[in-house]
Subunit: 340 residues, 3 copies
């Protein structure tokens, strides 16, 4: 493993993450996973620091995970709730962020329904020469880096519990199935999973499949100078699920937003399940010890058959949630240890 000193102030996306950064996150998360297994699960690492959770788009599960990660690190948290906010009073998002900066926030966790908001806030924080770190908790259809990293961590821990690292993915086949085109989760996962020598196969109905994504990756591959540590990215796109599942080591199903139906991108949930749902039958195409991931919340019987979701032989879903706290602790810790 290449260990590096962490120099990244913000975590906005995984498109430009280096292999050594992935490994640093994986190793740090592993050490926090160990902390969480102790009786007293707190460390004083971020005592006195303030983490502002600015969830312009509401989310209970992700906010709770970040809040718990912050508390385990002994940081104080401030929760911004859009319903009762100054935004309705005409304040700009940047002014809201600057208000939390002025109050003393050391880091801000940002979720927004528009792509690019965390980036804009991070740029403003840098322009003002603050040392505040911005962590993207999901921006539009762009990226959801902590979800990508926790999925990566979950997969790597399965491959080597004690020493999770990017290199373990080499030669593995990972299928990502579902509403790829609208999914920030898919996007972040594609960046991190293709950063190793893994094969990533996307499968979706043609209306939900991003043809251009393969082109971006191609461009990324051809732009690589000799110093890049990322191997040639291996991304394959299918409109049928079968070739994606064939001999897969991991299957990642994505949440189907029900509003896709009203936009006429999908005929019905039942038909979706019939053609792209993960079932025991379909799973026979994969490697015998295949594992299933889902970022949650799950529509039972749509993306995945209900009994399969609960089968610990196949489902990694609750491990993903558990690992989410450790991965978020790792990021807050790495970002925060430079900020004072």
């Amino acid at each position: 493993m290449t260990t590096t000193v962490w120099t990244r102030r913000h975590v906005l996306g995984l498109a430009d993450f280096s292999p050594s950064e992935y490994d640093t996150v994986l190793q740090t998360a592993a050490s926090f996973r160990e902390v969480l297994s102790r009786r007293t699960k707190k460390v004083p690492a971020l005592q006195g620091q303030v983490i502002a959770n600015l969830f312009f788009e509401p989310s209970t599960r992700t906010r709770s995970s970040f809040e718990l990660a912050a508390k385990r690190l002994s940081a104080d948290t401030l929760n911004f709730s859009p319903g009762t906010s100054s935004l309705t009073k005409g304040e700009t998002i940047l002014d809201t962020a600057k208000t939390y900066l002025a109050m003393g926030a050391n880091m801000m966790v940002i979720r927004h329904r528009n792509a690019g908001v965390p980036q804009t806030i991070a740029a403003e924080m840098d322009r003002l020469d603050t040392r505040v770190g911005i962590l993207n908790a999901g921006d539009g259809q762009h990226e959801h880096p902590t979800q990508g990293l926790l999925d990566l961590f979950t997969i790597c821990c399965l491959l080597n519990f004690d020493y999770p690292r990017l290199g373990l993915l080499a030669g593995k086949k990972i299928a990502i199935v579902g509403d790829i085109i609208h999914s920030r989760v898919a996007r972040s996962n594609i960046w991190c999973l293709t950063a190793s020598r893994a094969e990533v196969h996307l499968a979706a109905p043609p209306t939900l499949l991003p043809k251009w994504f393969a082109e971006i990756v191609d461009e990324d591959n051809s732009n690589q100078d000799s110093s890049s540590q990322i191997p040639r990215r291996q991304l394959f796109i299918h409109s049928d699920i079968e070739p994606a599942l064939k001999d897969a080591d991991f299957v990642m199903t994505l949440r189907l937003q029900k509003e896709r139906m009203s936009a006429h991108l999908l005929p019905s949930l039942r038909e979706y399940h019939q053609h792209y749902g993960i079932t025991r039958d379909r799973l026979k195409l994969c490697k015998p010890d295949v594992k299933i991931l889902h970022p949650g919340p799950v529509n039972r019987g749509v993306e995945i058959s209900s009994d399969l979701m609960d089968d610990p032989q196949f489902s990694l879903i609750s491990q993903q949630v558990t690992n989410g706290v450790a991965v978020r602790m790792a990021l807050l810790y790495l970002m925060g240890s430079g900020s004072h």
Copy 2:
């Protein structure tokens, strides 16, 4: 007093509470009441533990009471707010609970408008072989055990401040007045108050009176084998208030849900107050040192006349709120001390 080791993982209702369990809660609450009288009111009992407050039905006062109880025990809390939750995204309640389990919650405090939800979650937690404790904070019209226990504690403390115990209720007469049929508070109180040798008298308009409750108690009485520690339950039902109040030691008035009017179960609030409201005049029927309880929030001038509510000679209402924190600390402590 029979002291026992606490073996109950979940507290879902009081129907099956044993006298020694009541006494354990009362004694533990008394010791936390003592902690709360100190300058620094915290104890490190649950340090590092996470308590998730899953209030699917919103409630500020009960949630605040649980939150404060958790903080006094040095636990961390996670609040689930239904308005911004994954539920609106189609997740099942069990999946929400399992998400908080996977995040590391050690106990969950559940409120839901449907009866049985805490029981279902508790059963699932046991099925998954977790050690997570479930505490019912009110489920539909079924039970509200912490309210029942804090009412019991408040009554017992009045009878013997230093040594509150179930046995003190022997021979006391307690009137419960109001919307009995829809009240989870009444139900939990009936179970705990009849577990001693107290007489419990229910009074309500016929439309709000559960005729079948006496039958349940009868059945419970006749099912008793010789090993049961619960004496024959003494429950009496009246559609006039006077016989219930006659020589009562305690009067418990219940909150009147205004939606009962629209359901045509009640003519008007004014008529309700005229026939069932607690007034100084009606109080003359009771013992001279009678005390009044109300679970709150109170509709002043409906369930009870406004001046009587504020009269410390009669009203135990604010003591109930104060004792609520101590009783909830006791339950979280008893449930939590076995979970690590």
Copy 3:
């Protein structure tokens, strides 16, 4: 500086603040500002104390500032959210406050859209002989004392960073521009800024200008007995902005509530900006080193031109937010140190 022992249990408004009380707050805030500059920003001053934030009118920025101030002092906080509250169940505001009192709150921070609510609650707390302190976080159009004090602190720190005190304002000219008549911020600022020998000049469209305010101040001046420590208050009222800005040392712009337009008190935001907006051109009327304050949130391009708001040479806006935490810590500390 006159130092006095702090004897005020509640902080409800600044109308009756004495010079020595102002100085005590300023000095205490300065020492907390120093605490906030340290690596670990917490002090154990209010450990074990509970501060209830009862924001009947929602506000994210002020609530966050109070919450952070409380956490920095190691107090526990309870947040009351009106949306999910017992109020919708018919409980009175006083009963809500008494519930938090009974739960163990040591101080309550109250915001309400009606003037006088914090005063009513404070009177009830005193009547009940509690030692609970009430802090007004904004009541209707009446007062917003912590905003007034943080503005005062910001101005005084600029005049003497190490030793901020009321006397520094003597001879300074301060313009307050905007919707004076509806502004609790203006009102609190007028009381505190005229408590020294500063000249305060109000400027607003005639429809937003309180003619009676000068009369109140006159009466206050003529009522002064010889023992009053407040010098003759110097307050001037203008319906044009120019005489107010002329040679001003500080310009305080007020937030323009957009609902004033629908009430026909203002023609349009553009016309308001044209006549009363703070621009670089208008600033030439002031002293060369003039500074601008705004309580936030700002309507950019309405009360103040957008570039000026971000210009650190003129704008004190983010310092106001920063100082808000120190001033609120000071008040909670002063009020809280007597309550146990």
